[in-house]
Amino acid sequence: MRSSVVRLDRLSKEYNRTVAVDDVSLTIEPGHLIALLGPSGCGKTTCLRMIAGLIRPTSGDVFVNDERVTDIPVHRRNVGMLFQSYALFPHLTVEENIAFGLDVRGIAKAEAAKKVASALSLVQLSNFGKRYPAQLSGGQQQRVALGRALVIEPAMLLLDEPLGALDKGLRESMQVELRALQRRLGLTTIMVTHDQDEALTMADKIVVMRDGKLEQVGSPTEIYQRPTSKFVAKFIGASNLFEGHVEQRSGGGALIRVSPELSLEVDEMPASATDAMISIRPESIIVERAGENAAPPQVNSVAARVDQAIYRGFVSHYYLKTSGGEQIIVFEQNQSQQAGLRYTVGEEVVARWGSPSNHVIARH
């Protein structure tokens, strides 16, 4: 199995004047797994299907290893694809399903049988060859689909919400398993998902899409820690977003006034900006009981009242309300010795955080 470079060059797709995919350019490094992430209707599936060759782009091109494949029909592109519905052929056994791609390629029976057997063992279903898809669980069916896609030694693997129909627990273990296998084979993989956890768990690179356009491309860490837009900040994980104006500058940083009781200190601030949007992740905020700390700091801190408190096992969620009416979400990891929630609804608290947690969002 070889690793391919996949390149999208100004790819667009229009349906009856509505633009599904709008001028998308992207390079996928060999052996990487990238996740196209976004809400439904953002064009991620259309993008994937254009890469597969199932949809013809209105304009733009797809390159695989610098070869233009835009005009090559899907059945000669040699792509392995997984679907949310598994798409196993119900009238064929597991073995026959996996052999399908070899069969249509005219590979001799004996050689095909060998490949099918090794594919079956790769997906750990060696004893299931004679069964029909309907006799398998969802997870097993998707393994068969994976074996069927891998046995043709595809140039790339395309995953269309592959684990979307599975239970949470199984989905998470399949994510890890699929990722390990993909790494081991070094197979260039493009995955479509609307599940941010899945994207964060599996991808080398996340491509956030919105309204057919690329919103942000980056590693999971970059996407999570340094979202470039309000949309990404809200779509990936939870975020506290504050808008304010630059009150004072010092070096490269600045002091941002959000409200009379809240000002934020940022370490880096674009020189020209007078207004700013700041994102603070809920887990970077520390909550203290009011009066616990003699003098609460003047910046990156605000007095608030606990509005809602939710115990979620290893973490507690607190929804705080400031006197100015702003809501602040805080995630606090629970200690094993701890007896439930540390703060109760109605309690007066102080929320504070360090200035590195204040992330300036470039685009509102």
Partner: protein
């Protein structure tokens, strides 16, 4: 469904079902009974018992000739309407083109438009085109009348097929044609079989269109039957009818054996 009906609801349901069955089957049984009557006219209840009318019918050259023509015509119609109807159904379900709804309505139209009008229109067109051969005209006419049945059953079964199956097959290296043959067709086989059976049966006992397109040389069974009915209404008419009923039953049983009729019609 695992749950069975029970109690009063079941009683009502079974009664209505039984009533419907009697309503549908009684005329057929009546015809069958009349065919063994040892009289020179059709009577019910039958008097005596004889198979001589069958003997007469099976020696009747007009009837045997008509049977041969009707069977060949029905077979040709079945093949023709499948060749036309299956791709049409495919286009209607998988396609996405301007006027799809209108074309769908049009292709299913002989189910709405009276067959009598269709037959007359066909006669006029075929005459204008100079098509003289009654056999060809009948075949064309019957394909026109039966294709909607094929399209309808295939459309319904095709709608149940996960389109991703076809996408998966194509990514695995199968061309569109091979995908249809290896993946789609096995999924819709029951619908195709049901459509084919409908086409055969509808062609076999079609009167209103046949009436316009047949001539004295080539008369299918329904015309011969009708002619006989008008001339001498003796028990040979119910005998002919019984033979046709038995043929239909054999066809239905065959389909049940091959693909499972309940599955075929459920599709």
């Amino acid at each position: 469904m695992d749950e069975r009906f029970s109690g009063f609801g079941a009683f009502i349901l079974y009664t209505i079902t039984a009533g419907m069955m009697i309503f549908i089957l009684a005329p057929l049984l009546l015809v069958m009974a009349a065919s063994v009557s040892d009289t020179y006219f059709v009577t019910f209840p039958p008097q005596g018992f004889t198979l001589k009318w069958y003997a007469k019918v099976l020696q009747d050259r007009d009837f045997l000739e008509a049977m041969r023509l009707s069977i060949l015509l029905a077979l040709g119609t079945t093949v023709g309407s499948l060749l036309f109807g299956v791709p049409a159904a495919f286009a209607l379900v998988r396609g996405n083109f301007f006027g799809l709804a209108a074309i769908k309505g049009f292709l299913l139209s002989p189910l709405i438009f009276p067959a009598l009008v269709t037959g007359l229109a066909l006669l006029q067109i075929l005459t204008k085109l100079g098509s003289q051969d009654a056999r060809v005209n009948l075949l064309i006419g019957h394909i026109v009348v039966t294709s909607p049945y094929v399209i309808r059953t295939v459309v319904t079964s095709l709608q149940l097929v996960d389109e991703n199956l076809e996408d998966a097959a194509r990514t695995l290296g199968a061309s569109r044609l091979l995908t249809f043959w290896r993946v789609t067709l096995p999924q819709i086989a029951s619908g195709v079989a049901a459509g084919g059976l409908f086409a055969f049966m509808v062609s076999f006992d079609n009167y209103p269109v046949t009436m316009w397109l047949a001539n004295s040389e080539y008369s299918p069974v329904p015309l011969v039957l009708m002619r006989q009915l008008v001339n001498v209404f003796d028990p040979s008419v119910p005998a002919m009818s019984t033979i046709i009923i038995l043929m239909a039953m054999v066809g239905v049983l065959l389909l049940e054996k091959l693909v499972g009729l309940r599955r075929a019609l459920a599709a």
